[in-house]
């Protein structure tokens, strides 16, 4: 396994999610697509922390320095924060979907077009 493969997977997840956000009409599907985008970010963050100990960090002899280890663990910390905040975001999103359904008897994004000039 190499970094390239991980990044391709991450990019693919991110792009599929982006397509879903732009193309789907059902708000729940849009929220799921957003989750997919966040998961793409997560895969990239973990992949970077697993594979890249940037050249500037590794000692001349190839030994991995302490700061390099710290830098690679940062990716995991990044992922944990992304997961927890994305969960909060989804909770808010689902609450809004409920309210949206109550107001309009529909969860289609195309019904969110009352405001036109």
């Amino acid at each position: 396994m190499t970094l390239e493969i991980v990044l391709v997977v991450a990019g693919a997840l991110f792009s599929i999610g982006l397509f879903g956000v732009l193309a789907r009409r059902n708000i729940i599907a849009v929220i799921m697509s957003l989750e997919l985008m966040f998961n793409g970010v997560l895969v990239a963050a973990i992949g970077f922390s697993r594979f890249t100990v940037p050249a500037a960090l590794v000692g001349a002899s190839g030994d991995i320095t302490e700061s390099a280890v710290r830098a690679s663990l940062t990716g995991h910390a990044f992922a944990v924060f992304v997961i927890s905040i994305a969960a909060a975001e989804t909770a808010l999103a689902l609450a809004l979907v409920f309210a949206f359904y109550r107001a309009k008897q529909s969860v289609e994004i195309t019904d969110a077009s009352e405001m036109k000039n």
């Binding site: 992949g47 500037a56 390099a68 940062t74 808010l92």
Partner: protein, 505 residues
């Protein structure tokens, strides 16, 4: 964490604590003290909120003047947060905007019925997030602070729970989450490329990494992350081409909330972008790339905002497009500073941005809150609904006209001085074409601002009932207009303050 960490974070902590105090106060006050009459507590809650804001304000003043506690201008909490004067300048702006919005929203609160405590809690939590954001000096902190700002703002937009409000909330949430995902992808690439998340470490590593001369920003990875990060912040700052959500959200959300979003949310996003930009300003080879990027965004934002505003009949949508155009003028300053930072006249550019942001905050709050007071009583948010306002409420009419003229850039208001300063920095940096585009845009903008002014001053209305604004609303609008006039007539007062706040250059 050391004591110094707590001192540096104290205004943010106080703001977050105030949010919790109001949530508890809502639960306690509502039932007992007012004999079960829930709405009776609304004034009490507003007063607790406004007076409580003195605590974070005092703690921020303490950090500015270093009355007690240790000096905190360096990065604290493992380098993730910097309470320097640059951050404090924006924290004052955010605290002020929050206070003014709360003052003005007292009569409006009836619309929130059973979610009164939530209104204050969400507003103050969003403010705490913004105060964290303006001092964040590490990527994960920036992300967390940004979300602490965005999620309460979404809930605030949907708080009225009618069709418009829910619709505004849903659109805001989806586009805000989308922009956060783009931003995150950019931040992760920046981390992957340099192996660091602290901005100072990133800058240091960038210098050591290979630099390709033909590629914008020196490397494709950096270019990708810069574009994604600018796109992510572009949504928050409401600049074209990432402005689609702005008119709908401003129209659908409660007007005081729209005022808060258009000022505090925007200013904090600009602040964090400035901090990022100045950290990278040392790289002279890429200065040209920053300049082109920001000049293009500025042109797009000014032109789209002003042209779209021309055909609006709804005042809130018109003001929304006006804020997009205003963000474009501020981006002119960004385009100018990216080269300026390498020369002697470095301080003129960032000064002009901060001066513009301060002036814009006061002016925009005045216009939005004056309009909120009017629309709350007339229920008509079209331009025609403002006709005959001069007869119905002379005070509000005159205050709103001064605010609109300041947005347009008429002397002696701050709008004129700020535009003059920001456009002249663009000329100084050889961006004459950009300054010309900006001036042409100002002329285009005159059409729609003056149309509203004309309707207010000379329009005829069948409805001649006087509109009587409450004391809180009048005070809030007056503060905004006073700021617009004072900063315009004696600009050196605020320019001196801005000078002292430039700790990031």
């Amino acid at each position: 964490m050391t004591a110094q960490d707590y001192w540096a974070l104290s205004p943010v902590i106080a703001m977050a604590a105030l949010a919790l105090v109001l949530l508890s106060a809502d639960a306690l006050l509502a039932e007992r003290m007012f004999g079960g009459k829930r709405y009776g507590s609304k004034r009490a809650l507003s007063w607790i909120a406004v007076i409580g804001l003195a605590v974070p304000a005092f703690l921020a003043l303490n950090l500015w003047f270093e009355w007690f506690g240790e000096s905190t201008s360096e990065a604290v909490v493992y380098g993730t947060f910097t309470a320097d004067r640059f951050a404090l300048f924006f924290q004052f702006l955010i605290i002020g905007a929050t206070g003014v919005v709360i003052l003005a929203s007292v009569p409006y609160l009836q619309q929130f019925r059973d979610s009164l405590g939530e209104f204050f809690t969400l507003l103050l939590t969003a403010a705490a997030g913004m105060m964290l954001l303006v001092g964040a000096s590490e990527l994960i902190t920036i992300y967390v602070a940004l979300e602490t700002t965005a999620l309460p703002a979404v809930a605030l937009a949907a708080l009225r729970r009618d069709g418009f409000s829910i619709e505004a909330g849903a659109k805001f949430l989806i586009l805000s989450a989308l922009s956060t995902a783009l931003l995150l992808f950019g931040l992760v690439f920046l981390y992957g490329y340099t192996g660091a998340t602290r901005i100072d470490e990133i800058v240091a590593r960038m210098g050591a990494l290979p630099f390709e001369s033909g590629v914008p920003f020196g490397s494709l990875a950096v270019m990708l992350s810069v574009l994604l990060i600018v796109a992510g912040f572009g949504f928050k700052m409401a600049i074209a081409p990432w402005h689609m959500w702005v008119p709908d959200v401003y129209q659908g959300s409660p007007t005081p909330v729209a005022a808060f979003l258009s000022v505090a949310s925007k200013a904090s996003a600009f602040a964090v972008l400035m901090r990022l930009l100045y950290s990278f300003a040392g790289f002279d080879p890429v200065a040209q790339d920053w300049q082109i990027l920001f000049a293009l965004i500025a042109t797009a934002s000014m032109t789209v905002g002003n042209l779209m505003a021309l055909s609006q009949t709804n005042v809130k949508r018109l003001l929304a497009y006006s804020t997009i155009a205003q963000a474009g003028y501020i981006m002119v300053g960004f385009a100018a500073v990216s080269v300026a930072s390498s020369s002697d006249s470095a301080s003129a550019g960032p000064q002009s941005i901060m001066y513009y942001l301060a002036g814009y905050a006061f002016t925009n709050l005045a216009v939005f809150l004056a309009f909120a007071a009017i629309v709350h009583r007339t229920g008509n948010d079209t331009i025609a609904g403002l006709s005959g306002l001069l007869k119905r409420s002379p005070v509000l009419a005159i205050l709103m006209v001064i605010g609109l003229l300041s947005l347009l850039g008429m002397p002696p208001t701050v709008g004129f001085m700020a535009k003059a300063v920001i456009f002249s920095t663009a000329v100084d940096q050889g961006l004459i074409w950009l300054a010309v585009v900006a001036v042409v845009n100002t002329v285009v903008a005159a059409y729609y601002y003056l149309r509203v002014v004309g309707v207010i001053m000379f329009g005829e209305s069948d409805d001649a009932d006087p509109i009587k604004p409450g004391a809180g609303e009048l005070a809030a609008v007056s503060i905004g207009v006073a700021g617009a006039l004072v900063f315009g007539i004696v600009p050196w007062f605020i320019l001196e303050l801005v000078d002292k706040s430039l700790t990031i250059v």
